[in-house]
């Protein structure tokens, strides 16, 4: 993304109110809110956290009022610690947020008319499942933007992947060929992005937005014309096989999430590892980052800037397209139009939230996925908190992140700028 118009007037000197202290103040407010409000509203029933995938089985109970107040105080303490010390930003923010969320959960679960039990294993699995497409999408974004090409077309790449996966998975009768086709589909859309952004120097955000409309229209058109009249022949891809790892599946909480997976869940973990190592430990990665930060300098030392950018944009399309197949081959069987419905934009947010780093993007995706899982859970226990407001949290968090309220994020320096050899 291009830098801000406003940099001119924003050189505020950093005084006492550093990022950590500001965040600490916010956390103190949240902690007080949790202690007083949640504590007062919580019921006397126990909030039960079951370790397994369902509400029976081992678990631990926390009395509602006690839990709400105790974890509110934990958040408060972490906030005060940040305020006083002005250090340990990451750890203390995590503790404070966790305390706040658990406090809210104790309140909600103790007063729920339906169920007082939260199956942690199920929540963990749902979090990871919801995060999978975001992980692939945000990795696609990272690969693209680290080399200096803005990728707003993640939504379109996911959608194209979903469509190609369903169509060719059905036509060839092979699930695996469908996956390959999904990756190729994402890469095809990426190729358009690459040509227009790199060769024709069109503004990259413009191309991305237009490509989203294009991909949405194209897949919806063929869905209406071809798939819907004859679902069996064109829109019936195979079911994704499940590969549980014996033994490890039985680990409480995390077992069902990580080790009862399929090609998408294992693939996403591998992809994060591979992209991280490739970006920071290989020659290709060093060159990619150089091209994204200072293409002219990279060009001077003999790196083919445009060639590298083409390659990276295409790889990004492969990754995002593969992830798109999740929608039509895992979460449901078959394609339906506009089925990605904004996940590409959340993936974009995850990439920014993760500071253009694959591991950061991975954790941001999990964070967003967790809110998705939490929304589902709270709806299932008929919580009075509107699910829409919970779903808003990832977007609000991203606004806070880019506005520098919770730590400033910075894009690669040459992100969004076409390179013309001069």
């Amino acid at each position: 993304m291009t830098t801000s118009t406003m940099d001119v007037e924003l050189a505020v000197p950093e005084a006492y109110w550093t990022r950590t202290r500001k965040t600490g103040a916010v956390m103190v407010v949240l902690g007080l809110l949790a202690t007083i409000v949640f504590g007062a509203l919580a019921g006397s029933e126990n909030a039960r956290f079951a370790l397994g995938e369902n509400i029976s089985g081992a678990g631990f109970d926390i009395p509602g009022t006690f839990g709400a107040i105790f974890f509110g105080l934990v958040a408060l303490a972490a906030g005060v610690a940040m305020l006083v010390t002005g250090r340990y930003f990451g750890v203390l923010t995590g503790v404070a947020l966790a305390g706040f969320i658990i406090s809210a959960l104790c309140w909600q679960m103790s007063v729920s008319p339906v169920s007082h039990t939260m199956p942690l294993g199920f929540i963990a699995a749902a979090t990871f499942t919801a995060a999978i497409p975001l992980i692939f999408g945000s990795l696609g974004g990272v690969l693209c933007e680290r080399s200096g090409v803005v990728n707003v077309a993640i939504e379109g790449q996911l959608l194209t992947g979903a469509f190609f996966g369903a169509l060719f998975g059905t036509l060839t009768g092979s699930f695996w060929l469908g996956l390959v086709a999904a990756a190729v589909g994402g890469a095809l859309l990426s190729a358009i992005l690459a040509v227009f952004a790199i060769k024709y120097l069109v503004d990259q955000v413009v191309v991305g937005i237009v490509l989203n409309v294009f991909a949405g229209g194209l897949t919806a058109f063929f869905y209406e014309q071809v798939m819907r009249p004859d679902t069996d022949a064109y829109n019936f891809p195979g079911k994704v096989p499940s590969w549980p790892i014996p033994g490890l599946v039985d680990i409480p909480i995390l077992g069902p999430a990580l080790f009862n997976g399929n090609i998408f869940s294992y693939g996403s973990l591998i992809a994060v590892a591979v992209v991280t190592i490739a970006l920071f430990r290989t020659r290709w990665g060093l060159r990619t980052r150089a091209v994204g930060e200072h293409p002219a300098a990279a060009d001077t030392v003999g790196i083919r800037v445009l060639g590298l950018r083409y390659a990276n944009v295409l790889i990004a399309g492969l990754v995002a397209g593969f992830g798109g197949a999740y929608f039509s081959m895992l979460s449901t069987t078959g394609f339906s139009k506009y089925m990605v419905s904004g996940a590409g934009f959340i993936a974009l947010a995850a990439m920014i939230f993760g500071r253009w780093h694959p591991v950061g993007a991975f954790f941001a995706s999990l964070f967003f996925g967790f809110f998705g899982a939490l929304t589902g859970f709270l709806t299932s226990i008929s919580s009075p908190i509107p699910s829409q407001f919970l779903s808003m949290l990832p977007y609000v968090a991203t606004i806070f992140a880019v506005a520098g309220l919770v730590g400033r994020v910075r894009a690669p320096a040459a992100d969004g700028k076409p390179y013309v050899k001069g």
Partner: protein, 469 residues
């Protein structure tokens, strides 16, 4: 490009190679340079009058000889933008035809026999494609059959104007959301938040429309005002965050789009808003007294006041950008925020107000749907008008009257697409593809020129002035 003749200066306009430069300006600060022709405060009018003229004529002389017909002819032939736009439309329609054929089972199967029955294959294809596009034309502009039947008193005159009415109805919100992208573009800001701002506008206007029962003379303006206000607030939020913290507006607006969408989903379920008689997520119907009045009171002709308001808004924006003090500051910030700040313009305030204005325009777009055509508030009532507004603004080259033209074209495509789906069985989703392709081709004039092997005319030099590198 080395010449320094006066030219239409857009945000991001810098010298570039004419062969490779895109015609669309870019709101990217870093490509800005101080344009020699950027006038001081006193010379705004003169600058804009002169900059369309070909280079060999002195601005004073050109101003004296300028007449409407002449300007029109020069715009048509000397300005390459028009040619590129036209060819881009043709190219997109050709691509659309290919997709139609691929998407139709019968015609597609016939292509297997291309070598055995070449005549039939080509004939069938041509018949299919031409029928579909003819239906599109009939649904968007005028149906000759209807005119004929009306001449013989077999149908009413309302039927004749039905297609045009549909086109205007579809165009109005797009013009609003297009302007909401075009105005900030001139200030160097890319507003992707038209969708969210339109949603907030629809909430504002819709709430007034369904909750109150006042005389229409009061309720309609009140609803329009509420829509503009709420949309404006949503835009102002982006502007103030950008001005205060330097957060990038593209990311802010994408996030606020989603927040607005979720908020609408929550809002229509609230007591007093939701229709108690229905089990699905839909609000109470908009009251008759809150609706935008139709241009011609007839159940068939849906075109309403929105299109008039849209054109007025475009005229207002055109005036503002050309003559208004705020418009000057806005463009100055777009050209070079550093220079603008040095000249005493409050950059942050200008950015915030620009986004508020954009939000208000998009909000009007949402209101025009809520109070014009939608029976009640629903989650998907607005479709994609915010994102289509981006396409409209880009196709209209971020100029107010260009946006009106592009909005009418997109409205016609939408209206025609509906007719095409009904009569030829080609899904209306094709329209979205055609629209995206048009903008994609327009955004890369070098591509269009390469495809059509256009030669570089003297006017291409002026065209290149719009390009950045």
């Amino acid at each position: 490009m080395t010449s320094h003749e006066p030219m239409e200066v857009e945000p991001g306009a810098t010298a570039a190679s004419p062969e490779k430069g895109p015609a669309l300006p870019t709101p990217g600060v870093d490509q800005y340079h101080v344009d020699p022709s950027l006038p001081a405060a006193g010379g705004v009018e003169h600058h804009d009058q002169a900059d369309r003229q070909p280079k060999h004529r002195a601005p004073e002389e050109a101003k004296a000889k300028r007449s409407f017909a002449r300007t029109f002819r020069e715009e048509l032939w000397a300005n390459n933008n028009f040619t590129v736009t036209l060819l881009a439309i043709v190219l997109a329609l050709i691509c659309g035809a290919v997709l139609m054929v691929v998407g139709n089972a019968e015609v597609r199967d016939q292509w297997q026999y291309l070598l055995y029955q070449p005549g039939k294959t080509i004939g069938d294809t041509w018949a299919f494609v031409s029928t579909a596009y003819t239906d599109m034309f009939k649904g968007a502009i005028v149906n000759p059959d209807t005119v004929n039947r009306w001449y013989w008193n077999m149908t009413t005159w309302q039927q004749v104007f039905y297609p045009i009415s549909e086109t205007l109805t579809n165009a109005a919100p797009l013009i609003f959301t297009g302007l909401a992208v075009a105005v900030p573009f001139r200030a160097g800001l890319f507003n992707i938040g038209g969708q969210g701002q339109a949603i907030m506008g629809a909430i504002g206007g819709g709430t007034v429309g369904l909750a109150l029962s006042l005389p229409a003379v009061i309720q309609v303006p009140l609803g329009v005002l509420a829509g503009a206000l709420l949309g404006g607030l949503w835009g102002y939020l982006v502007g103030i965050l950008k001005a205060r913290t330097g957060a990038h507006e593209v990311i802010l607006t994408i996030m606020l789009n989603n927040i607005a969408f979720l908020f609408l989903g929550w809002f229509i379920l609230q007591k007093g808003i939701k229709d108690p008689a229905r089990s699905d997520a839909i609000s109470k119907p908009i009251q008759e007294s809150g609706r935008l009045p139709q241009l011609i009171p007839d159940p068939l002709l849906r075109a309403n006041l929105a299109i008039v308001l849209a054109v007025l808004a475009a005229a207002g924006v055109a005036w503002l950008l050309k003559r208004g003090r705020f418009g000057f500051e806005l463009r100055a910030v777009g050209h070079n925020p550093h220079a603008a700040a040095t000249a005493g313009i409050k950059v942050g305030t200008t950015v915030a107000l620009t986004m508020a204005l954009a939000g208000a325009l998009a909000g009007l777009g949402g209101t025009s749907v809520a109070l014009g055509t939608a029976p009640a508030l629903t989650v998907d009532m607005l479709g994609q008008i915010g994102f289509n507004g981006i396409l409209v603004a880009l196709l209209g080259r971020v100029r107010p009257w260009g946006v009106v033209g592009a909005g009418l074209l997109f409205g016609a495509l939408q209206a025609g697409g509906n007719a095409m789906q009904t009569f030829s069985g080609v899904s209306v989703e094709l329209v979205g593809v055609i629209q995206a392709l048009i903008v994609l081709f327009v955004a890369a004039p070098a591509l269009v020129k390469a495809i059509y092997r256009l030669r570089r005319s003297p006017a291409a030099a002026a065209q290149a002035g719009l390009a950045k590198g």
